[in-house]
Symmetry: C2
Subunit: 417 residues, 2 copies
């Protein structure tokens, strides 16, 4: 079996990427294809048609994740390959999408070559990876891997104003016709591979084609509830103020300063979301909710940053005369991928003559959850200037094709195991 | 004519305050009676009934402000007395309300005593003083005094999610039946008097019954639009981040620090309202709008603070790598009330044997706009612990009655002029 040196059909792959980019157009050529929106339904329908036309059997699980199965020579646990087709509110055309459609391209290439692998291959489209409408992100892969309960996953509410505000993930799955019947997870999976744009500037900067992802940056996050006291914005003396907005601002600045303190070793701290109430002219706010997270390539350093962040948050609260409590915490990253799967990615790149380099993922991915239960690896492709979660996300077929070929050969080699 | 030493009927006044407190109940005994809401209509209907029962003629102008006129012996320009019946989102039972209902109590007391003043007296309820639903606050008094155009006032949109979001002030006036026919302002007014709770702790702290308000703190405010860039919260290096939320937070902290720098001379700086978009997990925000204001008893110091605030805002923006522009500015306070009107308040207090002290107002009031065109004065009554714009706003008849009596005698003395 000539399992190595397979080559994908680049033109067909890119045509499919461009067909996807017509569904759910956002601003300035980007996409706004929020999970379980009408445009998500549209791309799901299209993905299903493409997979069925390529001879796959498509099933949908109770979390709405889609699995397009190409049978193997033997009825063994499948090699899975995929990512997500949903986008951020002002998202690009490639984040997640490249990974799913590269999976489809693997199927099509195997069809062209008349190859049937030993193990089945399943191309996956995970529900709600982005978390733009439903928190947390990567929830469906998390339920699949047993990290979250199914009932909890289905009960996630939409968090932001807009159509169907307050509807649950389960209700929105029903609405768009993707509340599948298949049990979530609970079956044997041989391995999971995910190709994703890097979402960082490194590959683009150093001119390397493929990142062999060995694991993830350690991430520690928290949601903080801040309690102040309403009062008139005018006469209330500074020393009597308990303005929740000022409390949140002091925490954000403390967090950002900490990020700069660790920037030299590639640490980062982010304030992504703040809600304040009543948030009106004339009145000091008594309530705020703030999410903060930090990342570092070294889990021990991440823990050190977390300790320091908590110290500075307490200080910011005292300085602002507000009270607070941490009402949610999350930890991810710290995942180190499977040596055999990583090695198949690295070997495929070497054999294809594709320039490559080991790296850690900085963003969260469905692969993190999968790695907690199944042998997993990731392939990174370059991302123009590192810009992502922005409509200006940019890349080209020439930049993506080497990574698609690496994924193809790594997946096929594992499927022959 | 025994115009001095009149005494209001305290029990009746307080019964009316309590009847008002049943309309639009908020949390914990407070009120939530937002301008032009259904409960605002309800209190307006009640106020009209009370005034008509007291023999007044009630007219409504095109901004919805209500004028209950008690005829004088001569058809001269009236002495106006009033405030507002709308509240903050989590407001109290007294802010504004005490001033309008003290005006009504003046009419009732004059009826009891069979006194007809030389000039007419008009009790006013100004539309949307608080600005909780429509910005700016004090908009109807502003139109009355010619500070704003009528069309602009009617076109103010609701700013916050809720019933009838996006409706204009004019549409909401129509909806509740208070789009009056009378021209706004443009007629002669002898003078304007307003009784208001102090909204600060001073009278309560020093045990003085009445504040003789000689003018207002100087206020300088601005609405800042901050422009960042969306990017992934994870991999984006600190040095590439242009997070609008961090930019806003650094401006808020700079503003709050400035407030503390001037706290010794009773300066204050406030961040009251911040909106951020897209404000989602996973993405750095590219847009924020922040309102800041500062106050100082000395206009020259307020200008000095403003210069320093602008310097620090520019610094905060540079530090956060965001751009910004000031899209709105406002200046108020700097108003010094009319010597004759002030003197009538001071004399009334002295003759009644009520303890009193000159002071400046720190909050904005409808009286500020009126003072720009007509002889004006204000009377402050104590406010328990200085708490206001909070459901815990607290006072008693014993604390309010001296101020009501002072207002009564000052207004009647001016109406005899």
């Amino acid at each position: 079996m000539p399992t190595n040196h397979l080559r994908a059909n680049g033109e067909r792959f890119w045509d499919t990427i461009e067909a996807s980019a017509k569904v759910g157009p956002g601003i300035a050529g980007g996409l706004r294809r929020l999970a379980l929106s009408d445009s998500d339904r549209e791309i799901r329908d299209l993905f299903r048609q493409w997979c069925e036309a390529a001879g796959c059997t498509v099933t949908v699980d109770q979390m709405g994740s889609m699995f397009a199965r190409r049978a193997g020579r033997e009825d063994l646990p499948p090699v899975m390959v995929g990512s997500h087709l949903d986008t951020q509110i002002a998202g690009g055309r490639y984040d997640g999408i490249v990974g799913v459609l590269a999976g489809l391209e693997i199927i099509r290439t195997l069809n062209d070559q008349g190859i049937t692998t030993k193990r089945p291959i399943e191309v996956v489209n995970w529900t709600n990876e982005e978390g733009a409408r439903f928190q947390p992100p990567m929830v469906a892969a998390g339920v699949f891997a047993g990290v979250y309960d199914l009932d909890w996953g289905l009960a996630r509410p939409t968090r932001d104003p807009g159509p169907n505000e307050g509807a649950t993930l389960g209700e929105e799955l029903q609405r768009i016709g993707y509340a599948g019947a298949e049990q979530v997870g609970g079956r044997e999976v041989d391995s999971y591979f995910e190709l994703h744009i890097e979402q960082g500037p490194e590959l683009d900067r150093i001119g390397v084609d493929v990142g062999v992802v060995t694991g993830g940056y350690a991430v520690r996050g928290m949601l903080i509830r801040i309690k102040g006291e309403t009062a008139h914005t005018g006469p209330t003396p500074m020393e009597k103020r308990k303005n929740a907005l000022v409390g949140a601002a002091r925490m954000i600045v403390a967090a950002d300063d900490l990020g700069w303190d660790y920037a030299g070793s590639d640490g980062k701290v982010t304030a992504a979301r703040l809600t304040v109430s009543p948030n009106l002219a004339g009145i000091l706010s008594d309530h705020a909710e703030l999410s903060l997270d930090l990342r570092h390539p070294d889990p021990a350093k991440a823990d050190e940053m977390l300790t320091e962040l908590e110290r500075r948050i307490a200080q910011a609260a005292r300085r602002s005369q507000v009270e607070y409590e941490v009402i949610e915490r999350w930890v991810f990253g710290d995942e180190y991928f499977d040596p055999d799967c990583i090695d198949r990615v690295r070997s495929a790149a070497a054999e294809l003559g594709v320039s490559h380099q080991d790296m850690l993922s900085q963003a969260g991915h469905d692969a993190y959850h999968m790695a907690s239960k199944y042998p997993t690896a990731m392939v990174f492709s370059p991302c123009g200037d590192g810009i992502t979660h922005n409509e200006a996300e940019n890349t080209s077929l020439a930049a993506q094709l080497p990574a698609v070929d690496v994924l193809l050969n790594a997946v096929v080699s594992r499927a022959e195991r």
